[in-house]
Symmetry: C4
Subunit: 238 residues, 4 copies
C-alpha cells in the first residue's frame, strides 16, 4: 500500500480528522472515512486511534463488508456504519460519525431538527431522520452499530438524506467528498445550536425551504473556502 500513502484522499482524511477534533465535532471518539479514489469498493479509515491523533500512517483500507482489505490492522468497532452506507449510497464518498452534543440534544429529545441557517440548507427542508436502535434491536443494546445488520438498518434510516440522527448517541453525516463532509458536519452542528437557542428564547423559527436548501447547498459544493480556513487553524493555530 505504499502508493496509497501519497493519495490526496488520505491527506484530506488526515486533515479532516484534525479539523473535526479541533472544531469539537469529534473528541476522543467518532470517526470519518473516505471511499478510496481508485476503488469504489474500498474505503479508508483510521485505525482505532482517537480521531484528532490520526496521521497518514494510521489510515488503512477496508472493504464494503467492513473487513480489512488485505492487512491486519484494527479500526473502530462501529466501522459497520461506513461500509453499509457506501454500499447503499454510491453517491457518497465520505462519512462522518460523531457524538456532537448539539446533535445528540435533538436526537434524544424528540425536537425536529430542520435547517434554520443557510449554511445547513444541504440538510433539506424536512426534519432529519432519527435512528432509534430500540425499534429494530430492542431495549438492551449497547447503542453502538456493532454489525453489518445494524449498519444496514442505519443506512436505511438515512435513506437519501445528508445526515441521520442517532437517538442518545450522535449523528452520521455523508457527502460527496471529504472536504464537503467536514463542512456539512461543522454546519449541521452550528445549525442545531442556532435552532436550539431560537426555541429556548421562545422564537418562531422560519426554516430554509426546499428550494433555498438546494440553492444554499451549492455554496458547499466543494467546501474549499471553509476547508482552507479550518485546516489552517487546526494545524497552524490562529
Amino acid at each position: 500500500m505504499p502508493k496509497a500513502r501519497t493519495s490526496s484522499v488520505i491527506a484530506d482524511l488526515v486533515t479532516a480528522n484534525r479539523i473535526l477534533a479541533h472544531q469539537g465535532v469529534l473528541d476522543g471518539y467518532g470517526h470519518i472515512s473516505a471511499r478510496c479514489e481508485d476503488d469504489p469498493n474500498r474505503y479508508y479509515i483510521g485505525d482505532a486511534s482517537p480521531p484528532g491523533n490520526v496521521r497518514t500512517k494510521n489510515v488503512f483500507r477496508w472493504d464494503l463488508n467492513n473487513d480489512p482489505a488485505g492487512h491486519r490492522h484494527r479500526t473502530y468497532g462501529e466501522r459497520f456504519i461506513h461500509g453499509q452506507i457506501y454500499q447503499a449510497r454510491p453517491d457518497v464518498h465520505a462519512v462522518v460519525h460523531c457524538h456532537a452534543p448539539e446533535l445528540v440534544m435533538f436526537g434524544a429529545s424528540g425536537i425536529p431538527l430542520r435547517p434554520i441557517y443557510h449554511m445547513a440548507g444541504f440538510q433539506g427542508e424536512d426534519p432529519l431522520p432519527v435512528f432509534e436502535i430500540r425499534d429494530l434491536f430492542g431495549p438492551e443494546t449497547d447503542m453502538l452499530i456493532r454489525s453489518n445488520e445494524q449498519g444496514a438498518a442505519l443506512a436505511r434510516t438515512l435513506g437519501d438524506r445528508a445526515a441521520v440522527l442517532m437517538r442518545g448517541h450522535g449523528a452520521t453525516i455523508v457527502a460527496r467528498s471529504v472536504k464537503q463532509a467536514v463542512l456539512f458536519a461543522v454546519y449541521a452542528v452550528i445549525n442545531a445550536r442556532i435552532l436550539g437557542q431560537a426555541l429556548m428564547a421562545g422564537g418562531s423559527p422560519v426554516f430554509i425551504n426546499a428550494a433555498e436548501g438546494r440553492g444554499t447547498a451549492k455554496v458547499l459544493a466543494d467546501g474549499e473556502r471553509g476547508w482552507q480556513y479550518l485546516a489552517r487553524i487546526a494545524t497552524q493555530g490562529t
Copy 2:
C-alpha cells in the same frame, strides 16, 4: 497598485479579517470591506480567500458597481452587498457581512433584536431591521446577495441603521471606519447573546433607550482601545 499596498486602510482591513475570524464573527465565510481612502468610489475587499487567511497580497479594489477596478482578481460572490451600501450610504467607510450564529438566531426567529447592553447602544433603540429575501425575490433563491439589484434592496432595508439582519443568513454591519466596524460587529454579537439569554431565563429586559444609545455610541467613536486588544490577541496570542 503598489502604493495601495502600503495604505493603512489595507493594513487595518487585514487585521480586521484576522480579528473577526479569531472572535468567531466570521469563519471560512463572510467578508469585510473598506472604502478606499483616496477614492470614495472604490472599496477594498479580499479576494475569495477565507477571511481569517486574508493578507495584504489578497486585497484589491472594486468599484461601487461591484466590478473589478482594473484588475483580474476574484472576490466573494456577495460583493454586491458592499458596493451597493457604499453607494447608498456616503457616511459608511466599512462593511462587515457575517453569519454569526447569535445574529442568525434573531433574524430567523422573529424575536426583535434591541440593545440591552451599552456597548451595543450604537444599534439604536428600535429593533434591527430584518431583510427577508423572499419578500422581493420569492421563495426560490439561494438566499445570497447575488446581484446589484439584491444588494440595493438590502441597502434599502438597512436604511440609515448600523446593521441589518438577514433572515436565515446572517447580518450586515456598517461603520465609519474599519476599526469601528470590527467593534460594532463584536458587540452586536455579544448583545444578541445577552438578550437571548435574558429571554431564555424569563427576564424582563430593559433596553438601552435612544438617548443612551447616542451616548454610549461615543465610546466606539474610534474603537481604538478595543481594537488594540483584539488585534493583539488575534495576532500574538494571550
Copy 3:
C-alpha cells in the same frame, strides 16, 4: 515613582489585568485598580490601555478624588468608580469594573442574582443590588460613571456588599486584595451562568444561605490557590 515600579501590588495588578482578560471578564474595556500599599489615599490603575495589554509601565497613582497624583498620564473615563468606592469603603483594597455578559444579563433583565454556587457565597444571601443610572441621573445619560457625583451614587448602591450590578452596563466588584478581587469576579460570573441555566431549564434553585455564604467566603480569604492557576494559564498557557 521608580520605587512604586517594584511594588508587589503593581505586579499583582498587572497579572490581574491579564487574568481577567484571559478569563473573558474584561475585554478591551473595563478596569481593575488597587489601593496603594503605602498610602490608603491613593490607588493604582492602568492608563487608558485595554486591560489585557496593561503592563507595569502603564500603571500610575491617582488620588481618591480621581485626580492624577502628581503625573500627567491618562486613565479610564470611569475612574470615578474607583476613587469613590475607596473613599466609602476603607475595607476595600481592589475594585474591578467589568462588562461580563453573564452579569449584564441579570442587571438588565430584573432577575434577582443570588448565589447558587458555593464559590460565590461571598456575594451574601440577598440579591446583588442593581444600580439604575436613570433613577438619579435621568434617561439621557451615556450610562457611564463620568463624575465623582456618579461614582458616589454607585458606591451608595454598592453599600457594604461585595458587588453591584449596573443595569445594561456591567458590574463593579470589590475585595480586600487584588487576588481576592480577581477570584470574586471570576466566580461571580460563573455563579451567574449557573443560575441563568438553572432558570432556563426550569429548575427550583436552592440558594447559598447567609451562614453558608460566610463559611464559603473563607475559601477565598486570600484566593491564592485559584490565583496561582489562573495566573499560570493567562501568562504561560496550558
Copy 4:
C-alpha cells in the same frame, strides 16, 4: 518514597490533573486522587496546589483515615472525601471532586440528572443522588467536606453509584482507574450540558435505560482512546 515517584499511577494522576483543568472540569479548585497501586490502604493526591499545576513532585501518599502517610506535606482541606470513599468502596481506584458548573446546576436546582447521552451511560438509569449537607449537618456549614464524619456521609449518599452531586457545591465521581475517572468526569459534564439544553428547548428527553447503560459503560472500561486524545491536547496543544 523515591520508588513511588516512578509509579505509572502517579504519572497518570499528574496527566489527569492537567486534562481535567484543560477540559474545565477542574479550575483552581477541586482534586483527583488515586488508590496506591501497591497498597490499597493508601491513596495518592496532590499537595494543596491548584490541580492544573500538580506535577510529580506534588503528589504524596495519605492513609484512608486521611492522615499523611509518613510525611509532613499538606493536601486539600476536603481530603476526607477521598479516604472515606476508598474505605467504603473497595472497587474504586480513583476519585474526582469537581465544581463543574453543569453539575452544580443540576445539584442546586432539583432537576433530576439522568443519562441522555450514551457516553454517560455509566451513570446508571436512575437520577444521580444529591448530597444535601444541610440534611445531616445543618444550615450553617461552609458546605465543604471538612471531616471524616462528613466524608463518610457523602460516601453513604454515593452508595454504589458512579457519581454523587453535592448541592450548590459540585460533584464527586468515582471509577476503577485514573483514566476511567477522567473520562467519567468529562462525559458526566457533557451529558449534563445536553440534558440541560434539551430541557431548555422544551424537549422530551429519552433516557439511556439500565441495559443500555451497562452496555455503553463498556466503551469506557479502560477509557484509553479518549485518554490518549485528551492527554495530547492538554499537554501538547492541538
